[in-house]
């Protein structure tokens, strides 16, 4: 799994640098993204709490956006 982790890090670092085609939206075209509803995580505190609850109730972890500290209920 560590090899896969290293490969993904390299891919993430190299891919964006390889293509100017990724420069797709001008700064003045980003108005829509200034609204909370267009954020990747519009409700961050709710999601943080929910991820904590779900880490107690479900076995899956990761893929989220917030740091989760230790807890004896997990």
């Amino acid at each position: 799994m560590m090899n896969r982790l290293v490969a993904i890090v390299l891919l993430l670092l190299l891919t964006p640098a390889c293509s100017s085609r990724l420069e797709r939206v001008k700064p003045y075209e980003k108005e829509a993204f200034s609204k909370d509803k267009m954020l990747l995580n519009p409700m961050p505190l709710k999601v943080e709490y929910e991820e904590h609850i779900l880490s107690i109730r479900e076995a899956s972890q990761g893929g989220g956006s917030s740091f989760q500290g230790g807890c004896g209920c997990k």
């Binding site: 420069e23 505190l45 609850i53 230790g70 807890c71």
Partner: protein
């Protein structure tokens, strides 16, 4: 309870001290109140206070702290434990982080600690985000390490260590679409079972304690897409695939739709679907004999589905001096499928719960 009150008082004092000499970039104070109640007498009430304050150009600090009041349908005392027992406990936690942001690079370094009646947690974390392609692409890497400890002397091992790496790439595709690809690698080792889980056998046979492998490594792959359907409506879709070396796999789909009702009101609806398999060590609840090397008892190590549905509300108050309050509230209903492990432990065929969340951000 005195300890938790003292912690909140110290945090409030700390916020006040920092506020008195700081100035700079976007800064905010956040308070959140969250509550969870389920059909097995589980209740968690959380009060949390946080602040981000710049202390110099490009530098800021973040402080967070909170207290959870937890009521659970299992005892914390081994001598009188049992599924029908009810226990009350508190969990207090605090984190401190340093933030650097020059609009191209963002770095957060921090530490976290938590205390419960029977458990303590310590963590360090680092999060780096790099903006590329004129802020069309962002790469993020987050690393965290945990060093937790059960405060129960009779356990064979009382430690839990862990590391987690999260990687993501976010890309704007058009003026109305962005997506994020994520990868998480999570490793845990130590005493990973719960000291409060067991299966009763006919007298005089002993209880069968929960027992789990001493390490676990899991991976999560995620995709999230946000699209503006119109000027007033947006769609937020996400999918996560998880797998680990205990042979658990899961799929999670989450859909959210938001619509502006007015300039400062946004209403959202969400639906989350979840399905997981059991571990390689899980048997039927009645099939354990006590001779197995590993005995997963918590239902979350068995196969089940769940769904969650709810509503979100975002309300923004803009003041003439450009200071803003952002109030966000949500109410969700959660329910699992029928499950024999849930029935054995909670005396219900399934778990269902209501989750409430409310937060106020003051941006100044």
């Amino acid at each position: 309870m005195m300890k938790q009150t003292s912690l909140l008082a110290i945090l409030l004092l700390l916020f006040g001290t920092i506020l008195s000499y700081a100035e700079g970039l976007e800064e905010k104070v956040t308070y959140s109140l969250n509550a969870y109640r389920d059909n097995s007498e589980g209740f968690i009430l959380t009060n949390k206070l946080g602040m981000v304050k710049s202390i110099k150009e490009k530098f800021a600090i973040g402080v967070n702290g909170g207290v959870d009041a937890i009521t659970a349908a299992s005892s914390s005392n081994k001598s009188d434990r049992g599924p029908s027992e009810k226990s009350q406990s508190y969990r207090s936690y605090a984190s401190l982080s340093g933030i650097y942001d020059d609009r191209e690079n963002s770095l957060i370094l921090g530490g976290y600690l938590s205390e419960e009646n029977d458990y303590s947690g310590r963590s360090l974390f680092i999060n780096y985000v790099r903006q590329l392609n004129r802020q069309n692409t962002s790469l993020a890497i987050a690393l965290s390490t945990l060093s937790d400890r059960w405060k129960i002397n009779t356990l064979p091992r009382d430690d839990r260590k862990g590391t987690q790496a999260d990687l993501s790439i976010t890309q704007f595709l058009s003026p109305t679409v962005q997506f994020q690809l994520g990868y998480s690698n999570i490793y845990s080792r130590g005493y990973l079972a719960s000291p409060y889980r067991f299966i009763e056998q006919p007298t005089p046979l002993p209880l069968i304690e929960e027992s789990l492998p001493a390490s676990r490594r899991g991976e999560a792959y995620s995709l999230r897409v946000v699209k503006a359907l119109s000027g007033a409506t947006s769609l937020n879709l996400s999918y996560r695939y998880y797998r680990d070396d205990w042979k658990i796999t899961s799929h999670t789909i989450n859909t959210e739709v938001y619509r502006d009702l007015r300039d400062n009101y946004t209403l959202g609806g969400r639906l989350r679907l979840y399905r997981q398999s059991d571990t390689a060590y899980t048997k039927d609840i009645g099939a354990y004999t006590g001779t197995e090397k590993y005995v997963p008892i918590d239902y979350k190590y068995s196969a089940f589905d769940s769904y969650m549905a709810g509503v979100n509300l975002i309300y923004t108050i803009e003041r003439p001096d450009l200071k803003r309050y952002v109030i966000k509230g949500s109410l969700d209903y959660y329910r699992t499928s029928n499950n024999d492990f849930i029935k054995y432990w909670y005396h219900n065929s399934y778990l269902d719960a209501v989750i409430f969340s409310c937060s106020v951000d003051y941006l100044y």
